[in-house]
Amino acid sequence: MKIIVHNDKCQGHARCWAMAPHIFELDDEGYIKPGDIDVAEADEKLAWKGAKSCPERALEIGK
């Protein structure tokens, strides 16, 4: 599973990070680090919830 990160849409709500800080890493300003995220199988459910928590719709669930 992959999370596609739309950095231009991230506004630093950090809801994904609150859900799973080890999957969704933030920079020093509190925005998500650039680059899509490869999710380990064991983390898929958590990653899905994290992606779904974004108020800006900046995280897309890929295959």
């Binding site: 506004q11 609150a18 300003e29 509190g30 974004c54 108020p55 800006e56």
Partner: protein, 408 residues
């Protein structure tokens, strides 16, 4: 309440698109005993997705009202079309300068935001938590020792939020009451009180920044006066604009949220028992309470003519994105009228959408969660004191007063 000669509805607004709802004057928006202004505002969902409200700002101006969360997201994510530059604070003084970063647009906005973001980032807030908790414990223990009832806003919510704010500014609690008065008069005062409070706050900020320039310490204002944007120091105007925003945004909002939350829990014993029995639920519950009881409306100004879902928005028109309206949008939240403290899928807009997402949101969240945790830990089952009625009100920033809780 202030009254204004309402301005005529602009000619380009089709009469059929004029609605009779206003966050200032509709039922439930005026000071109301045992009121629920956020629920009252949800009445707009019986109407169209966008309409024109002829008197919907503190100074009596008309705004378009965006009712759906999805449409508010579109507006707030598009600062090129919907500008945030309004000089709302300065205009109370007949002046024109922005509160920073709120009233700047990209790209200028981003430079200030980058400067300030690290100070209130999620990680930074983790480091502030112990001080926040210590303060909550101090205040609540004092309340518990004093008796079996209290005035939540005066005894807890305001002193708590204002103390955290003062700590951020590197100031002691000595002038706490003064600050609460300034904030109250600025946000909820009349035509005379508001400009007077604004001038007082400006003088305070100017004085503090001058002092910190001379003798910098480890606090926010020292950071600001020593900072650079594009390799130049901030101007006095920029420092003032930033300091004023911090003041306006940080004081009233967190206190109001705590007030509405405790008011809700006092009236819903089952939910109070749920959180008391399992405090680990408070983090999630606080999100639902933020959804149900947000306090702010975002206003944007159209920078060009644009047709928005059938509405002919013209350059200069005000567009209102009220958080309490989007947060009760049935297309975004199933059964929005039902407050479900276990609601999981909850992408509410209490802190807005788009580049102006509340800079203090992470700190605000911690204050609310810590406040509720310590309150429930230290105060037994509580209810609204018999014979009293909290007063709620709508308007520019929603609020609650005279919230007397009793646990005798």
């Amino acid at each position: 309440m202030e009254t204004f000669a309402s301005q005529p509805v602009p000619a380009h607004v089709p009469p059929a698109m004029v609605g009779d709802f206003s966050l200032f004057s509709s039922p439930g928006m005026q000071p109301t005993p045992n009121g629920d202004p956020q629920a009252a505002a949800a009445i707009v969902h019986q109407g169209p997705r966008i309409f024109y409200s002829p008197v919907n700002t503190r100074d009596g101006r008309g705004t378009w009202v965006i009712t759906r969360a999805q449409d508010q997201r579109r507006v707030l994510q598009d600062p090129e079309t919907f500008s945030s530059h309004r000089s709302i604070f300065a205009s109370a003084l007949g002046e024109n300068w922005p509160m920073i970063p709120l009233e700047l647009d990209p790209p200028e906005h981003g430079r200030f935001r980058s400067l300030l973001n690290p100070l209130l980032s999620p990680k930074r807030v983790m480091a502030l938590e112990s001080a926040v908790r210590e303060r909550a414990i101090f205040l609540i223990d004092r309340i518990a020792a004093a008796g079996t009832s209290c005035n939540v806003m005066e005894d807890f919510a305001f002193p708590f939020a204002v103390n955290i704010f003062l700590r951020f500014l590197g100031l002691s609690d000595d002038r706490l009451d003064e600050f609460v008065t300034w904030a109250n008069e600025l946000l909820h005062g009349d035509n005379v009180q508001r400009p007077a409070a604004a001038r007082t706050i400006i003088a305070f900020i100017d004085e503090l920044s001058a002092e910190r320039r001379k003798r910098p310490v480890d606090d926010f204002m020292s950071f600001l006066v020593q900072s650079k944007i594009d390799d130049r120091p901030l101007t006095d105007q920029e420092i003032r604009g930033t300091g004023v925003l911090l003041f306006v945004a940080g004081l009233d909002t967190v206190a109001a949220a705590i007030g509405f939350d405790l008011n809700y829990l006092a009236r819903h014993q089952d939910d109070q028992a749920l959180l008391r029995g399992d405090p680990s639920r408070i983090v999630l519950a606080a999100e639902e309470l933020l959804r149900a009881y947000p306090t702010v409306q975002m206003i944007r100004v159209a920078t060009k003519d644009v047709d928005f879902e059938g509405a002919p928005i013209r350059k200069g028109d005000y567009v209102s994105c009220a958080t309490m309206i989007a947060n009760r949008d049935p297309l975004e939240f199933p059964h929005p009228e039902k407050i479900d403290l276990t609601r999981e899928d909850n992408r509410h807009t209490a802190f807005a959408y788009g580049p102006h997402r509340c800079l203090g949101s992470h700190l605000a969240r911690r204050e609310i969660v810590v406040g509720l945790e310590e309150w429930l830990k230290r105060i037994p089952t509580f209810r609204i004191k018999q014979g009293t009625a909290p007063i709620t009100f709508g308007g520019h920033v929603f609020g609650i007063e005279n919230l007397i809780l009793d646990w005798s």
